[in-house]
């Protein structure tokens, strides 16, 4: 009996080693370069067996339509360039467990019918796309139905100047996928920087998305995602999060999203999400909220925006705590009277109340919605009278004796000093 059990253990161990080690142990390395056995990436990929590594050395490869249909690693050394010469999609991945790393992939023409991308993954899992540079393409990296994939360290750069929205694709496009990680990428000059549709339980981390024609990040029907420490800058319309639940947005920076219809963050039909420790700087509108409920917006900085928050009347049960509002033209504006939203312990630089008992909390409530902001909401051209003496006077009178501004939008306990989010933990704990 003892012998038998020992035999089983050894056998299982062997089997395990074989199973785990097999892709590495069995894989060959196929080298591609000018003087190697293979001169073209396509040829090498077609010859490769499952588990092989195709190693491409520096140089320019004028190829397109590379189809990977077995689990291999396609790895570039010394920055090889694959130039598609505008003749269709360049790399198409049709197998699970594929890795593409270290290439410069460039030149994919606009294709309205096929949505050609530089790298496309369709219907397979565990794909890794790492440290590639994608230049001048229609769609950059296109992922559809590929669970547990990783897109990391890529640079996707397009030419959006002078093009209309429909002639541009998205830099990183993810569709109907679970558990994808998009991190440390730099995307610019496309339609949407990062596009998520029906993507769940995913992570968007430390990306920089700027100068995109439409949104820096576009989120639709994608529940349970986390995005942290990203920078969204100078995008046509900022970041849009729509029709989703359970999102965490933390430590992101939204800045310089200027223009007629630009938002730092556009929230539409989103619920049960948290927005913490973000910075909104110099946007036309910091956060625009429509039909959004049960959001926690805490510890954010709103600095020098046109409108820090536009809270539409369709929003309910949102909580705004411990945010700093400094240098905004309008702190909060609304189109009606939203109900059951809580403003508490925020710092408003326009607050001119006093603190007699020295508990760092103002004794007089602050009303962040000014009469003038309501007027501008109703009659946009009256924005011409900004900083007119009449307007300032009107606002002051309305603050003393509110009659038009919504009763419910009030910070009963505004802070006297700006919250320093990193150092003021003690104050914050006391207030909790």
């Amino acid at each position: 009996m003892k012998n038998l059990s020992k035999y089983i253990v050894v056998w299982t161990a062997c089997a395990l080693v074989w199973l785990l080690g097999s892709p590495v142990a069995l894989g060959d390395t196929l080298k591609v370069c000018n003087t190697c056995e293979y001169h073209s990436v396509k040829e090498a990929v077609n010859k490769a067996k499952a588990g092989d590594v195709v190693l491409v050395d520096g140089g320019v490869y004028k190829e397109s339509g590379i189809e990977i249909n077995k689990p291999i690693s396609l790895i570039g050394r010394n920055n090889p360039v694959i130039d598609g010469q505008n003749s269709g999609q360049i790399i198409t991945i049709k197998s699970s467990n594929v890795k593409v790393e270290g290439f410069t992939v460039q030149n994919v023409a606009v294709s309205y019918m096929r949505d050609d991308a530089a790298i496309r993954v369709a219907d397979h899992e565990n794909i890794q796309i790492l440290n590639n540079t994608v230049l001048n393409t229609y769609f950059g990296i296109y992922i559809q139905n590929a669970d547990n994939s990783v897109v990391k360290g890529n640079v996707v750069r397009g030419q959006s100047t002078g093009k209309i929205e429909s002639a541009l694709g998205n830099a990183i496009h993810v569709w109907r996928t679970d558990g994808v990680e998009v991190s440390n990428n730099r995307v610019e000059g496309h339609r949407d920087g990062i596009y998520f549709e029906y993507v769940t339980n995913s992570l968007i981390n430390e990306n920089i998305s700027e100068r995109n024609n439409r949104y820096g990040l576009h989120f639709m029907f994608s529940d349970g995602n986390v995005y942290t420490r990203n920078i969204f800058r100078k995008n046509g319309a900022g970041v849009a999060v729509m029709y989703t639940r359970n999102i965490r947005m933390e430590h992101n920076t939204f800045e310089d999203n200027w223009g007629a219809s630009a938002y730092g963050l556009l929230l539409k039909d989103i619920s049960q999400s948290v927005i913490l420790n973000n910075t909104f700087r110099r946007n036309t509108t910091g956060i625009y909220m429509e039909s959004s409920s049960r959001l926690h917006i805490e510890n954010n900085d709103f600095d020098r925006n046109g409108w820090a928050i536009r809270l539409l009347a369709s929003c309910i049960q949102d909580t705004f705590r411990l945010n700093n509002f400094t240098g905004n033209s309008f702190d909060v504006s609304t189109n009606g009277s939203p109900t059951m939203n809580l403003f508490e312990h925020n710092y408003w630089d326009k607050y001119n109340g006093y603190d007699l008992d020295k508990n760092k909390i103002g004794d007089v409530p602050y009303r962040p919605v000014s009469l003038y902001s309501m007027l501008v909401e109703r009659v946009p051209p009256s924005v011409m009278f900004m900083r007119s003496f009449m307007v300032d006077m009107m606002d002051s009178i309305e603050r003393v004796l509110p009659s038009f501004i919504p009763e419910s939008l009030v910070d009963e306990r505004p802070l006297m000093k700006k919250v320093n989010h990193d150092n003021d933990r003690k104050l914050v704990q006391n207030l909790r």
């Binding site: 223009g259 110099r282 036309t284 924005v383 003496f389 307007v391």
Partner: protein, 255 residues
């Protein structure tokens, strides 16, 4: 004419009000630039102040000066000098001294702390407003001989341009909110030099980008050379119309 302007200037400098005005502006602008963090913030606060005090002081000083130099003017009228020459010399004397005070009091601090196109627009606006409100002051002065009444009219004019006008326009905008009002608002701002100056400076500041769709529309108008050119022409008209009207009245009047 130069000789009369010289006498007027000499008279104005001697009574020290302009010197006090210069010092007041200088102190204020240096204070504001040192108070606010960024030069842009300083410019904004300065703008509000310039648009309130400069018209007030220009119009009150212009009116009182006109009434105070009645005897001098009567003396000159008895000489073989054209009346329009006397009037224009008085006007140049007052407006030049006040704009010089403004240039020293606000122009130099702006040049030191915020040398930008926006700063230039602010100074330009201030100088224009000085000229416009001195012209309005002279208009108020030629309407009536009674000094108290004249100053009353002048103050009313200031009150109208600095405060009431904006209130009226906001009320109109509110009442006609259902109509497209973009260009109507533009026309309405041109009818008040104070608003015109404010909008010109404001739209060339960064915050203009923050004013949404309408702000962007106006920015595209006022940010272009064309828009600025038209605004300046309107400002010049604002100087010329009251000035010419009052000169005509002065020429025809039986002193």
């Amino acid at each position: 004419m130069n000789k009369i302007i010289k006498y007027v200037l000499y008279d104005i400098v001697r009574n020290k009000i302009v010197v006090a005005y210069t010092l007041f502006l200088l102190l204020l602008s240096i204070g504001l630039f040192n108070l606010g963090g960024s030069p842009e913030k300083g410019l904004l606060s300065l703008l509000n102040l310039v648009l309130l005090t400069v018209p007030l002081i220009s119009i009150v000083f212009g009116t009182t000066h006109f009434y105070n130099s009645y005897e001098f003017m009567e003396l000159l009228v008895s000489q073989p000098i054209k009346r329009s020459k006397i009037f224009m010399s008085e006007y140049w004397g007052v407006s030049l001294s006040l704009s010089a005070a403004f240039l020293i009091g606000v122009g130099i601090p702006v040049l030191l702390f915020a040398p930008s196109a926006t700063g230039l627009y602010l100074v330009l606006t201030g100088v224009f407003i000085t000229f416009i409100f001195v012209a309005l002051a002279f208009l108020a002065s030629v309407i009536t001989r009674d000094k108290a009444k004249g100053i009353g009219i002048a103050l009313l004019l200031w009150f109208y341009f600095a405060l009431i006008y904006d209130g009226i326009v906001l009320f109109i905008l509110y009442s006609f909110a259902d109509y497209p009002l973009e260009y109507a608002t533009l026309a309405l701002t041109a009818l008040n030099p104070v608003d015109l100056g404010r909008v010109m400076v404001l739209l060339n500041l960064d915050i203009s980008a923050m004013m949404g769709y309408t702000g962007a529309l106006y920015k595209s108008i006022f940010g272009s050379m064309w828009g600025i050119g038209i605004a300046l022409v309107v400002m010049v008209l604002w100087v010329l119309v009251p000035l010419m009207t009052s000169r005509r009245a002065f020429k025809r009047r039986d002193v």
